[in-house]
């Protein structure tokens, strides 16, 4: 390597600035406080991932209850209201508390490593994003314990069912919890997205041009843009709904001149890009894994990146295909049908290119590759049924039937979740430093693949013979029983597979018997595989100078001029930032603010409505206090002097 050796041997000097107002937890913080105050993107990524896996289990239990209720006609495992709460919570949990944060976990962990950065651009903001996500998940699930229980409005919350006028439990608070939780989760996603965009644009290592970015990083960038463009729509819709419910405005109350149609437009102009927010990260992961296990570069890199961007762009122009049956008229319906068909092309391009990548390669079938192949085939089926739905006459029969349930589970489990599991099996050795048991991994894949198909393939047929979705039971004589039973059995198999997978992930952090991963166990191609596993807290001891797209591969197999170089280490070593309490405090303030808003109404003994904002104001004050303290915290930080090999 073309660098001089480094003479310093980490002398652990703490370099505290005396000017700072409040001391920050420093270098030697350990244990719980370390995890609560960390601003290290890798630890934040891990916490994101762990919390999301926890919610995956919660949402999975909800799904299994749903499936048990549908085992036979007129079952009474759940009452109809409980069932409706289950599918609402299942949908909201899986979208906002599982798939999105799992993607965020990978964005956090992998993206800075892939671009040669020591951290994201705003590390404390990253921490705030994590805590906002956890607070949001908490608020949503707190709803179980208050009046009306959790919301029973569907994850889409269609007006006017959300209107207090049509509440089926007096004083139902479920929708309020749902509104506030989604708002907080929106804050979490927006914070993370601004952070990632800034990081990718500004903090790439020298030589890492945009067209040398790994595809996963590209997808991070595109998804981040989608989030910051899509979330404002749902934020406004939720604010309006909150005002309708709390202060009696009439945005969606048709009896007072409001327009329920408006909610659907606002929701889906967020909701459709959201679909791509869920699937593009998985596509990015698969685009990383397939080249590695085929030992070839990605076929048509430019086209894959470009088609990702096109999908993101066009994702904003197809939202009304969720509303084909709402009576939009011939012209609007036709336009959205055509645009929806068009978006199939860039999606198909990706599949062609993945196959092209494998063509002429040396294909290994390790667990990540199995999940990637599972992703391609299952996503293909989901994509095909998606094309069917773009055709309005077909959609008129499929809409709100089990065919649609089959379709989006093929995209979101067969697609997104398989992709994310692929990511876990691929990158977890980098996080934990240990290889997972391949046999167990393949067993998990087999269980998930069989269980998944047994659950969701029959639903195509069920939808075609007329089973409507979101119905808590069905009558005798429809012929639904048998395939629902198959689906229920499949769901339990899938559940077992997912749980064993989670066990394997968690276990790899604690089981010292597992084989160490080494720097590059898969002979992978991108920059993060030049680092030791687990990655040191400073990531790169010296910033790499990038010479090629697949830098790790080029270093091993490429010509001499393509090998990466390293910038010399500064005299002061690696500057590391201190930890901080204030993101946590700010998030807790937000939590208080939300609780205060949720519970500010009371009926006094005379029957008058009394509004009491004390708790909300106190929560808001804590939040503002947290932000001010954050700003006054001072620079802080310490320096590390890593040895040459330690990275």
């Amino acid at each position: 390597m073309a660098t001089e050796s480094i003479k310093y041997l980490s002398p652990d000097t703490e370099n505290k600035a005396k000017t700072q107002v409040f001391p920050r937890p420093g270098q030697h913080t350990t244990g719980l406080i370390d995890w609560l105050t960390t601003i290290d993107h890798k630890k934040i990524g891990l916490m994101y991932g762990l919390t999301a896996l926890f919610f995956l289990i919660v949402g999975g239990i909800e799904a299994l209850l749903i499936r048990s209720q549908l085992w036979d006609h007129n079952m009474t495992v759940l009452t109809n209201r409980e069932y409706n709460q289950m599918f609402t919570m299942h949908g909201t949990t899986m979208v906002f508390l599982v798939i999105m944060p799992l993607s965020a976990a990978f964005f956090n962990f992998v993206m800075p490593l892939q671009i040669g950065a020591r951290d994201v651009a705003f590390p404390r903001m990253n921490t705030l994003s994590l805590w906002c996500f956890i607070v949001g998940g908490l608020v949503l699930n707190l709803s179980w314990f208050f009046t009306g229980g959790s919301p029973a409005i569907g994850w889409f919350g269609y007006a006017p069912l959300t209107d207090t006028r049509f509440a089926e439990v007096i004083g139902d608070m479920g929708p309020d919890f749902w509104i506030f939780s989604l708002q907080i989760l929106g804050v979490a996603s927006l914070l993370a997205s601004f952070n990632f965009i800034t990081t990718i644009i500004n903090m790439r290592a020298p030589g890492m041009t945009m067209m040398r970015l790994p595809v996963f990083t590209w997808m991070t960038l595109i998804v981040s843009f989608l989030i910051i463009l899509a979330f404002p729509a749902i934020t406004i819709a939720l604010v309006e709904l909150m005002f309708d419910r709390t202060y009696g405005t009439n945005f969606f109350d048709f009896l007072e001149g409001g327009k329920p149609h408006l909610w659907q437009h606002l929701f889906w102009i967020f909701g459709h890009p959201e679909v791509y927010i869920l699937i593009l990260p998985a596509m990015g992961i698969v685009s990383e894994v397939i080249p590695v296990f085929s030992r070839k570069p990605l076929f048509g890199y430019g086209l894959i990146v470009f088609s990702g961007a096109i999908i993101g762009f066009m994702g904003f122009a197809v939202w009304s295909h969720h509303m084909f049956t709402t009576g939009m008229g011939v012209v609007a319906t036709s336009a959205f049908a055509m645009l929806t068909m068009l978006i199939a092309i860039p999606t198909g391009v990706k599949i062609f290119n993945w196959i092209g990548t494998m063509w002429g390669g040396r294909i290994r079938f390790d667990t990540p590759m199995l999940f990637a192949l599972g992703f391609i085939t299952m996503f293909m089926i989901g994509g095909f049924t998606g094309i069917m739905h773009s055709s309005v006459p077909i959609d008129a029969q499929h809409q709100d039937s089990y065919f649609v349930v089959a379709h989006f589970h093929y995209v979101l489990i067969g697609g997104a979740l398989f992709g994310l599991y692929c990511g876990f099996y691929f990158w977890l050795p980098k996080m934990s430093g240990r290889l997972m048991n391949e046999k167990l991994g393949k067993f998990v894949f087999t269980l998930m693949f069989i269980g998944f198909n047994l659950t969701f393939f029959p639903m195509h047929y069920l939808g075609m013979i007329g089973q409507p979705r979101r119905t808590h039971t069905y009558n005798e004589g429809h012929g639904f029983e048998m395939w629902n039973q198959a689906a229920t059995i499949g769901a339990f198999i899938l559940g077992v597979g997912i749980v064993i997978g989670i066990y394997q992930f968690v276990n790899s952090f604690f089981n010292k018997k597992l084989k160490p991963a080494g720097k590059n166990p898969w002979d992978a191609r991108t920059l993060e595989w030049t680092l030791s596993s687990p990655v040191k807290e400073y990531n790169f001891s010296r910033t790499p100078i990038i010479k090629a797209r697949d830098q790790a591969w080029e270093n091993n197999y490429g010509s001499k001029e393509n090998h990466s170089e390293k910038e010399p280490l500064d005299d002061h070593g690696v500057h590391m930032p201190d930890r901080s309490w204030w993101p946590l405090v700010t998030a807790l303030g937000l939590f208080g603010l939300c609780l205060g808003m949720l519970f500010h109404r009371n009926i006094d003994p005379s029957g008058e409505l009394v509004r009491n904002y004390t708790v909300a104001i106190a929560g808001g004050a804590v939040m503002v206090f947290g932000i001010i303290m954050w700003a006054l915290e001072g620079p802080g930080g310490y320096h590390l002097f890593p040895k040459e090999e330690e990275e």
Binding site: Y158, P160, G300, S334, L373, M388, G466, T471, H478
Partner: protein, 463 residues
């Protein structure tokens, strides 16, 4: 397992057996709400486009999937050494990529054309003057000219069907002529619902504050097959449909289709009992439909309602009058039918031999209960009662189903329903609506078999 048992049930046998059972159950596609068994013009079009898309996607799946399998097999690393080889690092081929993009665009056009045609078809009834398109669709001008209009109003959790051309209102069972186009105007008074009869047409939502439109026309030849129209589609107006449905369908898996009976369902989540918000559509021959309309018009015509006995007038044989009957309680009336020509002054009291009781005692008491138990506040019987909160119960005894298509409309189910409707349909407005609480007389019916039987006699007597 015993060896003999093992001999017969080997694993391959087991797998083949399972496969056969599954294939067998899948082969049946004429289930109650099957979109795979279209019986109308619009649903047939939707089915055709669907099958086109199925063949296209099967082709694509085989082509792309086959390609994938080939690649996986051909380029798999066979040995550990091979897995360490470095294959040529090619970065792509723009000709191949462009070619595939163009090919996929062409395939989409194949689907786009019938899609656009289908959008127009499901949104617009063909113009009766446009002979060319009528011919293409295989329609006769009279089928469009004689179209009926139905205003559908969705409420949680039942359906109101108003026939503005005929001035009649019914609920939960839509009767329509099999040979004529049916225009459906969709409205809702509370949340969003969706009108879906899979065998006749795809769905359309009922949006608050907006009127949506859809239409369908049944294909009479598909409903009746080779049989005679009148027998294949039992008539509703004389209760034959109800009898046939009861005889043929036992609400089990063994479902036998009844000609002209279609099942529908609310397809947009609308609250607690969304699953229970189903309905039925009953196709009729033109004559049977006209007779049904006539019966309904007479029943809901206030001028034809039974009048009190008038001592000044004479009555034809078979006339109905309302006259006091102290046996039913003081001040109570009952309906009498004249057996022969009645001269003025021959009231049922003075000349009992000339009159017969039109209904049983139970019916008459049930009628009073219907008012005194406050049923009448929400349910209209023998009037249109468009604003009523509950389903219209005119000619209720002709209906095949109860509780918005959920149960069979017989004494047993009706008794369960009246005693505790919340048990059957949790959250329904009859049990939980405005002004209904524990003091409501309805809530006390549970332990009062006599009253329930009397109410049933009255309700099922509406035929």
């Amino acid at each position: 397992m015993t060896p003999i048992f093992r001999k017969f049930i080997s694993i391959p046998h087991f797998i083949i057996g399972i496969f056969l059972i599954l294939a067998g159950s899948c082969s049946r596609i004429d289930h109650k709400q099957s979109a795979l068994d279209p019986k109308g013009l619009v649903s047939q079009n939707q089915y055709d486009v669907f099958m086109l898309s199925v063949w296209i996607t099967i082709f694509l799946f085989c082509a792309v999937g086959g390609c994938l399998l080939y690649v996986l097999w051909r380029y798999r690393a066979k040995t550990a050494e091979e897995a360490k080889e470095v294959p040529p690092q090619s970065h792509g081929n723009s000709m191949v990529e462009t070619g595939l993009i163009i090919a996929s665009s062409i395939i989409l056009v194949i689907l786009a054309v019938p899609t656009l045609q289908g959008i127009v078809l499901l949104n617009r009834v063909p113009d009766a003057n446009d002979t060319e398109s009528l011919e293409k669709l295989g329609l006769d001008r009279s089928q469009i000219d004689g179209a009926i209009t139905v205003n559908v109003t969705g409420k949680r959790f039942f359906w109101v069907f108003e026939y503005p051309q005929f001035g009649i209102v019914t609920a939960n069972e839509l009767v329509f002529p099999a040979s004529k186009a049916v225009r459906i105007n969709l409205r809702t008074e509370d949340v969003i619902h969706s009108f879906w009869v899979p065998k006749l047409a795809g769905k359309m939502d009922l949006m608050p504050g907006q009127e949506n439109f859809m239409w369908f026309i049944a294909d009479q030849s598909k409903i009746i097959g080779d049989a005679d129209a009148a027998t294949a589609m039992p008539s509703v107006h004389d209760g034959e449909m109800r009898a046939k449905v009861f005889a043929k369908q036992k609400f089990t898996d063994e479902f036998e289709p009844v000609g002209g009976l279609f099942y529908g369902q609310c397809a947009e989540y609308c609250g607690n009992s969304h699953a229970y918000m189903s309905f039925r559509a009953l196709a009729q021959t033109d004559e049977d439909f006209d007779k049904w309309v006539k019966r309904f018009q007479n029943a809901q015509n206030p001028n034809l309602a039974t009048k009190s006995y008038d001592p000044q007038s004479s009555y034809e044989k078979g006339s109905l009058v309302s006259f006091a009957d102290p046996k039913l309680g003081s001040g109570s009336n009952r309906e009498y039918r004249s057996i022969r020509q009645i001269a003025p002054g021959q009231s049922p009291q003075l000349n009992p031999g000339a009159w017969e009781k039109a209904h049983s005692d139970d019916y008459e008491i049930g009628k009073q209960l219907f008012a005194s138990l406050q049923c009448v506040q929400c349910h209209a019987v023998n009037r249109t009662g468009l604003g009523a909160k509950g389903p219209n119960l005119t000619l209720y005894g002709l209906r095949t189903s109860l509780a918005a298509g959920w149960m069979r409309n017989d004494e047993e189910s009706l008794s369960k329903w009246l005693k505790n409707s919340n048990d059957i349909k949790y959250g329904n407005l009859m049990w939980n609506g405005e002004g209904v609480d524990d003091r409501h007389p309805l809530r006390n019916l549970e332990n009062d078999d006599e009253k329930v039987d009397q109410l049933i006699a009255y309700l099922l007597g509406q035929s």
